[in-house]
């Protein structure tokens, strides 16, 4: 039994914190929200230098050969400072390719960060719905997964994916398409014919999103197994969870410091039970989320049958924790917390968007129920 960070993991986390501290992310996000499009710093060179693009790629292909938990540690640090960095899209894409001998030749340039990939998120079936689905452009009706038709050694892929993290500017799009009704991994060059990526943002300027349209786009068919394709979805869920909990950490730290300093009626507001208990509630949810990151980090390799449950539970708890933390941050700061110049609205914007991306927090919560009901049937 060992669920504590190794020295290497502590070092990786501290190094990430150091790297990201060089950037003024909060100021730049606020400027970007004000319409200054080029305000956001380009963090990709720093990510390359730190070796993050190759975290999940085997060493023989130039990566670090590390596992999901290390990726979560890095994403946690990104979340702490709301870093606008393209890892949420890149890392699950590299995980699929890394499981697929047919994708091996693509890995070297992705490991070094010379090229960047984006994951096309397609949600695996669950106990209620037997189909692979994608997030819709609007509304609650989920869309169909992209379809593929065989074309020589490769395939042609058609489909529509909305709000794909980090798609704008990516060199390679990696995801899942249905070939004769069966899910296969596909890798598509972003500049190939039939590929359109419409860049967009919503509410949180630190997140780059894209609507991806594929019309008979030429694709390499990847020989990753169905479990690997599903695993990429759950990896993405774990990464959102880790990133969210990083944001919760800083939101809580800032709120606690303010509650110690701000006085009303002759004493610090943090001494009042109402304030103290609401901050303790954030800590409770944060601590639960941290435990589930360990579960997800362990399960991806140590207990793959439990990875869907572990990652979905982590996403569910972390998503609610970020909602709670960002609202608590605003209320502890009083009216000031709701003003433009304060950082609290940036956490709030992050919480509002994250909650609705990659299937959304609620869908992850539903998946927890589905997985447990399936376990109950099997018992």
């Amino acid at each position: 039994m060992n669920l504590s960070l190794s020295d290497e993991q502590v070092f990786l986390r501290e190094a990430a914190r150091g790297t990201l501290s060089r950037f003024k992310t909060f100021e730049s996000i606020r400027e970007a929200l004000d319409g200054k499009a080029d305000a956001l710093p380009d963090l990709w060179p720093a990510a390359k230098e730190a070796g993050w693009p190759g975290l999940l790629i085997a060493e023989e292909h130039g990566g670090a050969g590390l596992d999901a938990f290390e990726a979560m540690l890095v994403l946690g640090e990104c979340g702490r400072v709301l870093a606008p960095i393209a890892l949420l899209g890149h890392l699950p894409a590299t995980a699929i390719l890394n499981d697929s001998p047919a994708g091996a030749s693509l890995l070297q340039a992705l490991a070094s960060g010379e090229r960047r990939a984006a994951y096309l998120p397609v949600s695996p079936p669950d106990d209620v719905s037997p189909t692979w689905t994608v997030d819709p452009a609007s509304g609650s009706q989920r869309g169909p997964a992209p379809t593929a038709t065989a074309d020589g050694d490769g395939a042609r892929v058609s489909g529509q994916l909305s709000f794909v993290p980090d798609a704008p500017g990516a060199d390679l799009l990696v995801g899942v398409a249905l070939l004769d009704g069966k899910p296969v991994g596909v890798a598509i060059e972003a500049d190939a014919s039939g590929v359109t990526v419409e860049a967009t943002t919503r509410y949180d300027a630190s997140r780059s999103l894209g609507h991806v349209t594929l019309k008979d786009a030429p694709a390499v068919v990847l020989d990753a197994g169905e479990q690997s394709l599903a695993s990429a979805w759950y990896l993405a869920q774990s990464l959102v969870a880790a990133e969210s909990l990083g944001s919760v950490e800083t939101a809580l730290d800032v709120s606690v410091e303010y509650a110690k300093e701000r006085h009303t009626f002759g004493r610090a507001i943090g001494s009042y039970q109402a304030v103290k208990h609401s901050l303790t509630e954030v800590l409770r949810q944060l601590d639960n989320g941290r435990s589930l990151l360990y579960y997800a980090g362990w399960a991806r390799v140590g207990g793959p049958a439990e990875f869907p449950l572990a990652a979905s539970a982590a996403r569910s708890v972390a998503g609610r924790a970020l909602d709670q933390a960002s609202r608590t941050m605003i209320s502890v700061h009083g009216g000031t917390g709701a003003t433009w110049e304060h950082d609290a609205p940036l956490y709030f914007r992050r919480a509002q968007l994250s909650r609705r991306l990659l299937g959304g927090t609620n869908r992850a919560t539903d998946r927890v129920a589905g997985e447990l009901l399936a376990q109950a049937d099997a018992a």
Partner: protein, 405 residues
Amino acid sequence: MDLDDTQEQAAYRAQVRAWLDEHKSEAPVLDGAGALQDESEIIAARRAWQGKLAEGGLAGVTWPKDFGGQGLGPIEQVICNQEIAKAKVPGILDAIGVGMLGPTIIAHGTDEQKSRYLGPMLHGDEVWCQLFSEPAAGSDLAAVQARARQQDDGSWRLSGQKVWTTNAQFASYGLLLARTDSDVPKHKGLTMFIVPIEAEGVTVRGLRQISGEAEFNEVFFDDVAIDADSVVGGVGNGWGTALTTLMFERVTIGLGSEGMGYNSNRFAQAIASDAEARRDPEVRHALGEIASELLAVRFTGYRTLSALQKGQVPGPESGLAKITIVNGAIKAGDLIADVLGPDALSEDGEWAYMISFLPGLKSAGGTEEILRNTIGERVLGLPPAPRLDKGIPFSELRSKEAAAA
């Protein structure tokens, strides 16, 4: 990061399992067909079984060998608990004595106390109870009013009342926190005693709860004579001694929280059989929220174990897990009863009992409010609320409270 046993742990597990395989037929049957019904028969059988577990080395796993324990670590304790649960046999009857009170005596007791009391406690020959809380001293435990007065010959006379006392109805001894000096501030005038429950002047009365069953007792002390050598940890050091007990309480809870049976799989099982409910988005959402938090607590337990393995002692943050478990189970009870309807509230069913038990559990081992205060102050570093009792002799506190009202 892994969840597997080391080679040594696997060997220990195999040893425990082998003992259980050989002896589990001797365990008392508490559920299902052939279960014991009579309360006193159950207690007698469980005491005898605790004796067997102790002989087999499955009780007092973390106790030093000098006192009949195994001298092993918390991981081995957990392995032992897991194997006992897997074998579907009861664990030790006196978990409070062996888990919390014995370790307190080991830490603070005299050599005479250790040699007299620890052996019979471990073997279930003498069951113990914890006599800390009072009607007016729960969250504010240092406000205890049970009063022990020293006599000229050095012995003591004790009067007062304790409450929420598990196992007192069949206990031989209690570890009791009493006030011995009212003229100093409240944390300073306390002393810990070993009190024989069968002594003259001790009355134990069952305290029935929502379910109708009496899980706890009230214990009354009317001028009870206590020997001079019954003091544990020195006169006036009762608060420090009590903190040791409470620390072991946190360890016990941290190591055994899933043992309470409030886990996500059990709750999912209750809903899985209802075809309509399992597709209902509202039911699924509630189940998903409850279950993900309870799963988190399972892994919080593993994190606690990893820390214990490194010699770290769980701090007040372990109270967060208790809050999560109790509130999660309360929501689960509501959800399951909503799905099953009034039938879930049958008095003899498992869900009615759980639903009845939980409102009280919310206050047991620290109310949610006091846990959040402690965690806010000791973990987050938030300032305490101003206190009106600091530095004031206990004897003056009551009149101040009356004046403020």
